[in-house]
């Protein structure tokens, strides 16, 4: 074994580890027995295992944004500079005030909290504060993770989980059969069992053999991934792997700390092995009580002998190897307690006791000092500083079960083994054929015999739950919190099942088994998120003019995925000031606005009209070439869900626009209609939302500006012409959202900046969405979302007159339903403030303060030039209530305004400003 050269700290104490050691091994090597505190009673805990199943030795590692709480000391390889800290203790690990809870443990049985802390909810909230502080294991992280996580797909013919001999051979066989193979191992080394129990395979030392096989797999195009855990298995052999590129808390060289793999495999071979089971006796949770194979791992692999006077307690043969390894390492094996009546290792030279089981461990936070055992009826105490226990083996069948596989009961091994699989998944090695062992049940004082170490679930808790009727295994688990700690009951669940089976007088399979849920071992949240973090947590869509806007340093708006300018403040202008200035520029002169994000579809073909008149609730066929109109669309339930414009560019070519926010919904809907309702039509439907950039030019001077830019007369309102601006072909459509004479220019987005610059050079004031809101609200134009909210019919939105009387539009066949004639359904109205106040957006419309809401304000603005608060909204029976006075009341903002119900069209209701 190498010398200890790696510096690390535990609770601030500088220590050294030898290369290749886990933190647990290094701590044992340094004589540290007390490593953590349990969840409920804060009992002192040491190291139980040598793997990911560790329930006790949880530490926090790393510093700053790399701090990882609840890291298993047994699944962390020490690196230079590792900082590890114990958890769930105050003020220190060795003198933890929380351990006082052990004194009152008798009054805190399983589920005690269901039986007390009554009173008003506020009182529980008070108690809860203390409970939450006492619970929770590691510290809450506060800083941002500086490292990155990659997310990667892989495809293979065979994925092998586990690199023990069975896994390596399965992988090698597959490679020889010409298959593409991925082999994963959660340990840092291949075939960890061969490091625990070195022996020759195919005439080579085990570890060297494993390396050779791995090299052969790699040489044949396979992947061998260490430090990689298969966390979940889903339909059709979709497996998620989490690969540690560096150890927890360690600084990665290339910025990536983990890689999360999405693997699709033709076949999955599970060579996941087994986990050793503890024995259930009083104080079996003390530091110095360890699993037998773990002891052997520390001795043989890590060069650490965790005790000098050892009692080995077992129900099977395997633990004799531990006794041997300890003796070889110079430790004294005080006794081997074998639960079996028939001797197994009498000739081993150890002091073997048959029909012997441990009853009570003596000792405290610094380790065990003795073990009281029952030797076939007589008690005897053995002085010792280490208890190595082996209660049989639990096959790791988690992934098999996640894959919908069944389990069979192996009587000899007293274990569930994989049965039939639903998908192409098979299990090999010890996980399929665990070694025989018997179960002996619990011994010693039930209140101190732990089944779930981390959550402090004792045999007494199981018994209580059973007595209280929580007998289904799921009830038992949930009532006692068995198996719900960070180790997910990997070591404890079988002992609990054994206990229920004994109480019910049934077999373990009859007692049942809880479902195994992903992940098999906990997965970093960062790995699940991948690179989608911070400002990239979700894609951001940038319009073609994004850079141009950015140069103007606007106030941005996140509109769904899009980034759009909300206003372009000048100097110290606020949003409201800038918005109003921009809106006034439109009302009095001319403004320009990027409306590129509008949904746009080109519809072509001889049947285009027929198609559009199904989608649109208005007529379309009556449009002459070069004309356009406002339109709106209903769902099959006859409620309006979107609106826009439709333009006849050529006889059989139309451009349909609709709302930005509804773009993807509309794209799906249009495709649905085309494919399912009229597949026979000769029509082409192409989404051109991103192809066309679009700029609105609005204001009394817009016509002159357009005429100058295009060198031709501007089209009249709701007409479209083909023109060139700055040499770029463009559709110039005379349409107005603002209420002014206005145009929308649509053109190839590749040339967006050239066109924008040409228009801006004509003295147009850029305006953003804030000004657009003010303008359209004053005009009474609706938007999808607040106004067109998917709950109203065209009639209720005030669009009844525009509905295509010929019918044929989608939704017509459900408009007959009786509720639609209810006079109290909401309708779209305008509102004006009559007491000089300002109408709060979103506020409720009530007849008196304290009255019930009869509607609400969907949009609030002001008369752009004259001032004065106006709004639009939904009001029960509103079309017949024009002139009525109400309050727009916002209790959450403590605002109210007296309003009069009006037509929504506050500005230029006759549309005279559309004419030149």
């Amino acid at each position: 074994m190498n010398a200890a050269t790696i510096n690390f700290t535990f609770d601030g104490k500088a220590l050294r580890a030898r290369p290749g050691q886990t933190l647990a091994a290094a701590l044992l090597d340094n004589g540290t027995k007390l490593v953590g505190r349990s969840f409920k009673y804060h009992r002192p805990r040491g190291i139980l295992s040598a793997g990911v199943e560790e329930p006790n030795a949880l530490v926090t590692v790393g510093t700053g944004g790399r701090t990882e709480p609840n890291t298993r000391a047994t699944d962390l390889f020490v690196y230079e500079g590792l900082v590890a800290t114990s958890q769930n203790r105050w003020p220190s690990l060795s003198s933890d005030l929380g351990s006082a809870l052990q004194l009152v443990a008798k009054a805190l049985p399983a589920g005690f909290y269901y039986k007390t802390f009554f009173g008003p909810p506020k009182l529980w909230l008070f108690y809860e504060k203390f409970i939450r502080r006492a619970a929770g294991l590691g510290p809450a992280p506060t800083e941002i993770d500086p490292d990155r996580y990659a997310t990667r797909a892989a495809f293979c013919d065979v994925l092998v989980v586990g690199s023990g001999p069975a896994g390596l051979i399965a992988a090698r066989d597959a490679v020889h059969a010409g298959k593409k193979v991925i082999l994963v191992e959660q340990d840092a080394k291949l075939a960890p069992s061969l490091l625990r129990d070195p022996h020759e395979i195919e005439s080579k030392p085990g570890a060297a053999w494993a390396e050779d096989v791995a090299a052969e797999i790699r040489a044949n195009g396979g992947k061998v991934l260490t430090r990689t855990s298969a966390s979940g298995l889903w339909d059709d052999q979709f497996i998620c792997l989490s690969e540690k590129l560096v150890e927890p808390g360690q600084v990665p060289a290339n910025g990536f700390t983990q890689r999360y793999w999405h693997v699709r495999a033709g076949e999955v071979v599970l060579a996941t092995g087994v986990i050793e089971r503890p024995l259930t006796f009083a104080n079996n949770d003390r530091p110095g009580v360890m699993l037998s194979q773990a002891v052997r791992t520390y001795v043989n692999r890590f060069g650490v002998v965790p005790g000098q006077r050892v009692v080995v307690a077992t129900t099977g043969d395997d633990a004799y190897l531990t006794a041997q390894a300890l003796r070889d390492a110079g430790a004294e094996v005080v006794a081997v307690l074998d639960s079996r009546a028939a001797p197994a290792g009498q000739d081993s030279g150890f002091a073997v006791f048959n029909s012997a089981v441990p009853v009570t461990a003596k000792g405290g936070k610094n380790g065990v000092t003795a073990l009281v055992a029952n030797l076939g009826g007589t008690e005897r105490t053995f002085a010792c500083d280490l208890i190595a226990m082996s209660g049989g083996f639990t096959p790791l069948v988690h992934l098999h079960m996640q894959a919908g596989g069944k389990l069979d009961w192996d009587e000899a091994a007293q274990a569930f083994v994989p049965g039939a699989s639903r998908w192409n998944v098979r299990t090999v090695g010890l996980a399929a054929e665990p070694a025989p062992a018997e179960t002996v049940g619990a011994t010693g004082v039930a209140k101190q015999a732990f089944v779930d170490f981390q959550n402090d679930v004792t045999v007494a808790d199981l018994d209580l739950a059973w007595r209280e009727g929580y007998r289904s295994v799921e009830h038992l688990k949930r009532y006692t919190t068995l198996g719900m700690a960070t180790d997910q009951g990997k070591t404890g669940n079988m002992a609990a099942l054994d206990r229920i089976a004994r109480r019910e007088g049934m077999t373990v399979p009859e007692a049942g088994l809880t479902t195994f849920r992903p992940p098999h071992t906990p997965v970093s949240m960062g790995a699940l998120a991948g690179l989608a973090t911070g400002e990239h947590a979700q894609p951001t869509r940038r319009p073609a003019l994004y850079d141009l806007h950015a140069a103007k340093d606007p106030i941005w708006l996140n509109a769904g995925y899009w980034k759009r300018p909300r206003a372009y403040p000048v100097g110290a202008e606020t949003l409201a000031q800038a918005g109003l200035r921009e809106a006034r520029a439109v009302r009095s002169s001319v403004g320009m606005c990027d409306v590129s994000t509008l949904a746009k579809f080109e519809v072509q073909g001889p049947d285009a009209v027929q198609y559009l008149e199904r989608v649109c609730q208005t007529s379309v066929g009556k449009l002459a070439v070069g004309r356009g109109r406002y339109t709106f669309m209903a769902r099959e339930d006859s409620l309006v869900f979107d609106d826009g414009t439709v333009w006849r560019l050529e006889e059989n070519r139309f451009l349909l626009t609709s709302s930005t926010g509804g773009a993807s919904r509309m794209a799906t809907w249009l495709s649905y209609v085309r494919n399912h309702l009229c597949a026979d039509l000769k029509v082409s439907l192409v989404c051109v939302q991103e192809h066309y950039a679009a700029i609105a030019v609005a204001g009394p001077k817009s016509s002159a500006v357009m005429a100058k830019l295009t060198g031709a007369e501007s089209p009249r309102h709701m007409s479209v012409v083909d023109a060139r601006i700055a040499g770029i072909p463009a559709w110039v459509m005379a349409a107005s959202f603002s209420g002014e004479r206005a145009f929308e220019v649509h053109f190839d987005a590749a040339h967006a900046e050239a066109v924008w610059n040409a228009i801006e050079a004509e003295g147009c004031t850029p305006y953003g969405l804030e000004a657009m809101e003010l303008l359209r609200i004053e005009k009474g134009h609706m938007v999808v979302g607040p106004d067109i909210d998917g709950r109203l019919t065209a009639e209720e939105l005030g669009l009844g007159k525009m509905v295509n009387k010929a019918g044929g539009w989608i939704g017509a066949s459900t408009l007959h339903r009786p509720a639609f004639v209810d006079p109290l359904r909401k309708q779209f109205v305008g509102l004006e403030a009559i007491d000089g106040g300002s109408i709060p957006e979103g506020s409720m419309l009530v007849r008196w303060i304290g009255g019930e809401a009869e509607g609400h304000v969907t949009g609030s603005g002001l008369r752009v030039l004259e001032g004065g608060s106006i709004a639009i909204g939904h009001l029960k029976g509103g079309h017949k209530r024009h002139g009525e006075e109400l309050y727009a009341y916002s209790p959450t903002r403590k605002q109210k305004a007296k309003v009069r119900v009006t037509s929504p069209h506050c500005y230029d209701p006759a549309g005279e400003r559309y004419r030149d």
Binding site: E128, P141, G232, S524, R893
Partner: protein, 418 residues
Amino acid sequence: MSKYSALSLLRGAFNGQSHWQPAWRDPEPKTSYDVVIIGGGGHGLATAYYLAKVHGITNVAVIEKGYIGGGNVGRNTTIVRSNYRLEPLSRFYEFSLKLWEGLSDDLNYNVMFSPRGALTLGHSDADMIQLAQKGDAMAVQGIDAELLTRDQVMKIEPCLDFSRQARFPIEGAMIQWRGGTARHDAVAWGFARGADSYGVDIIQKCEVTGMVMGGNRVVGVETSRGRINAGTVAICAAGHSGHVAAMAGLKLPVESQTLQAMVTEGVKPMVQTVVMTQSLHCYISQSDKGGIVFGGDPDNWPSYAQRGQPVTMELAVQQGLALIPALSRLRMLRCWAGVTDMSFDGSPIIGTTPRDGLWINGGWCYGGFKATPGSGYLFAHSLAHQRPHAIVEPFSLDRFERGSPVDENGTGPFPNHR
């Protein structure tokens, strides 16, 4: 029923806690009941409890295929709130919230209702207006709702990402302080224990396999443990409403989908309230054991498999980390899934069916947990009076064909379009 109290626990400290009795009996089914409730989840058990307690109807059986509380009541993210914008919904959920506030005492079973606040974040001015609108709609009905500024949110939940570059910048929030969480399993167990104490038979491991019809009337159920006659049959089968109703020849406006949730390893207190957002489908709270509990979107396609899709889960985590970046180094401990009965307007269905003697309580989508006491109370009232309670009238099954959906999101009839 032995009463639960601190004193009683203390007594147990001296007798090894040996005095506790089973929380509910394990009876054999009788041949006939006044009311047979199909489904031993939260809603079924609560209905039975209130039928017995409030209306004195105790000849009631709750029939459960597996074990009680094994469905969605034990698979949710435990959130309780009444912050809805549409009046029928907020009135209904507020009725339920009021029952939550006294539930532990009423049941003598601590369901750990923790009114730590239901915080809905706004990420833009538009979000804030929608939140104000929702808050105003609640407040005019006397339901608590408070708008918070960004600074106020920062004081309550300092772990959130308040940076200006955040993908979902925090402009403010609405909080319903009376909202919060409860211990989900305890709700099922507490109602079961309470109902049992009034004589209700809770029959586990008993599967309903058919309806016994007498003309257009349902007069009983066939089960794996024999025929059981019933004056009234009430379906409380959540995700399994569809195929239970099919036994009576009914088709419902419901599609079953998988919704998953997940929890991290426990840490010390980090998230104080229930954090939700106006723009994302992500909700986060911290359990009393310290795990950060997460929920996201359903898988958006029909499934009866109690396992969700990994990509859906990853999306939920991406959203969660966007809100709370420091979660990155925590580890997801466990994820699980439930079969949700997605109704065709996002609101529940409570009331009569086209079959006489058959009532339904379902369509809970992903919001059924918080409704549990209210749903049970009002459904029991409706069953007892053989007439829907006024508060649940808007949630009648025939509202779809009448054209009066209660569509909070305005997204129309297809649940996967929501």
